[in-house]
């Protein structure tokens, strides 16, 4: 298909989205990521039964924590697609990138940089 999606995205491969924990999402922000999104299989189609449902709950919890500490919760999101939906993968990548660009850089990274300067 040779589809194009924004080059600003760094893919972290996991065996199942059920492997993704809240701490992984938080650490990404702590290290300066502007946004994090988790792409799992369609709900009901998890090879491990409930991995993607667990991931969704963790994404929600990470979102809640980020809101509390003053970082926009919209910077983290969960998407679901099937492995045959390459165009959708590219579409979600564009969607998320535009959303994050609208929000601007990760506020803590921006502050850390200002402090260093």
């Amino acid at each position: 298909m040779r589809l194009r999606y924004p080059g600003s995205i760094r893919i972290v491969r996991v065996p199942c989205t059920g492997k993704v924990d809240i701490i992984h999402i938080l650490r990404a922000f702590e290290k300066g990521a502007d946004g994090v999104y988790v792409v799992g299989c369609m709900e009901g189609d998890c090879r491990f039964n409930r991995g993607n449902l667990r991931a969704r709950k963790r994404v929600e919890e990470a979102r809640r924590i980020l809101e509390i500490i003053g970082i926009e919760g919209d910077r983290v999101r969960m998407f679901n697609l099937s492995s045959g939906e390459g165009p959708k993968f590219a579409q979600y990548a564009v969607e998320m990138t535009e959303k994050i660009q609208g929000l601007g850089p990760n506020p803590i990274r921006a502050k850390a940089r200002r402090k260093a300067a």
Binding site: D21, I22, I23, L26, R27, F29, E30, I65, L66, I68, I69, G70, I71, P107, I108, K111, A112, K115
Partner: protein
Amino acid sequence: MIVAERKPIEEIIEEAKGFDRILVAGCNECVTVCEAGGKKEVGVLASALRMYFMNQGREVKVDEVTLERQCDHEYLEEIRNIIDNYDAVISLACGVGVQFMAEKYFHKPILPGVNTVFMGATEERGVWSERCQGCGKCILAKTGGICPVSRCAKRLFNGPCGGSSQGKCEISDELPCAWQLIVDRLKELGRLDEYEEIMPIKDWSTDRAGGPRKVVREDVRQ
């Protein structure tokens, strides 16, 4: 195990915001099992605090440690060499651990990171319920292994009250009547005659009514 709940992060921030060097200390025992204060929760809280302070433009050091237990001297001793590097400790152990650490490190503010709620069991992942109140005089042999002290809202000892309806307690449709459970189990065990025995007035002096309690065993004492 002792069941605890995570404190709201806002509350922890409020208590900790005056400090510049904070140690978040977890406990590997009960609070790890009830997912309130183990290594994982320490990681999440510490990360959230670091980001909060960074976002406030403050440089606050937030480090992590998880001890095997916080209710024993030997494990609490493990942080003796590092505790002076911090202005305060947020302990994610139960109330016992928080207090024991505070006794040991008398000069250091120790803040609780969880609300300790009861002694209970894991019904399923994410669901814990109370099973024991530590009354100091176990009567489970007489009540089919179901405790009316911890599971009956009125702590009744001789059968249900008038509020028992269709096996549920009057305080909640979701709460089983402890005495219904007791009768059902005694019936199953073929020991329903025990239900007919009148239980004498309970000696509550071994409960909290007698003040804070202590167990001393001379045979194992050093």
